[in-house]
């Protein structure tokens, strides 16, 4: 599923990273806890979260996540958008809840990221 299709499914507004809309997303993570995002480090390229501070973007940068959907209608600050541009991470926002957003994406074939043995983290 492309990021563009995800944008349509969750009725998102794109704040930055328009050049990433054609990226294919197969798996995603959803959490408001950044250590959990890091724990489930793997192939997931998309994060759904209700937190909008700059630590979210730094965490995505470390975890190799290239797009974030801020759910529950949360709006990113100017600092968050600026850091996202610098880190080359797309920001989208949706008015849907975390539960609804995840449900829609899961129904469309997006998989979760599970913990794997240490050598495959």
């Amino acid at each position: 599923m492309t990021l563009d299709k995800i944008k349509e499914s969750l009725n998102c507004r794109v704040f930055c990273g328009f050049d990433k809309l054609q990226i294919d997303i197969n798996s995603a993570k959803a959490s408001d806890l950044m250590s959990d995002v890091l724990r489930f480090s793997g192939p997931g390229k998309l994060l759904l979260t209700g937190l909008t501070n700059i630590q979210v973007i730094r965490t995505c940068d470390i975890a190799g996540i290239c797009a974030v959907v801020f759910v529950r209608g949360k709006q990113p600050s100017t600092e968050t958008i600026e850091l996202s541009k610098k880190c080359d991470i797309a920001i989208l926002t949706s008015d849907l809840s975390m539960f609804e957003s995840c449900g829609i994406l899961y129904a469309n074939g997006i998989k979760g990221v599970t913990i794997k043995p240490k050598n495959n983290i």
Binding site: D32, R39, D61, I62, E79, I121
Partner: protein, 147 residues
């Protein structure tokens, strides 16, 4: 680790500085990328470094993060001046946290920091003195089975 070919750099971490928190880990990640280290190892080092850096920002006044890279290993040491950890065994337990509301609002303090660091490193040690500070050491093997 005393190999002449080793690359070595020290980064300063400021306690309470949430604006720049994570910058040192990202710089280390970029150095490893430039050297051409395996992507899986880079991810593990970056996550461990970032968790350790966030711990300094959240719990200490200041800290130093040292990275040493030689052909066999990546060595990370994060040493801080701060409150220290009273019960290390408890601090290592997934989910245990002494984080403040502010830290939790930022998405940290879930009690997964130290377990994440241990999980991502090949060798991990922690020493702490209450009221003085904490020292973490991590080794990542470059040619081991996890590489």
């Amino acid at each position: 680790m005393r190999d002449k070919a080793a690359f070595e750099q020290v980064f300063k971490i400021k306690g309470g500085d949430f604006i720049n928190a994570g910058e040192s880990s990202i710089r280390i990640r970029n150095i490893l990328k430039d050297i051409g280290i395996d992507a899986n190892i880079i991810r593990r080092v970056a996550i461990a470094a970032y968790e350790a850096e966030m711990n300094v920002v959240m719990y200490a006044q200041r800290g130093l993060m040292k990275v040493v890279i030689n052909p066999e290993q990546i060595f990370l040491r994060v040493e801080d001046k701060g409150q220290g950890i009273e019960d290390i065994e408890l601090a290592m337990r997934p989910g245990f946290s002494t984080a403040t509301e502010e830290m939790r609002e930022r998405g940290f303090g879930a009690g997964m920091g130290l377990p994440n660091i241990k999980r991502n490193s090949d060798h991990f040690s922690i020493r702490s003195s209450v009221g003085q500070g904490t020292k973490l050491e991590m080794i990542f093997e470059l040619n081991g089975e996890n590489g």
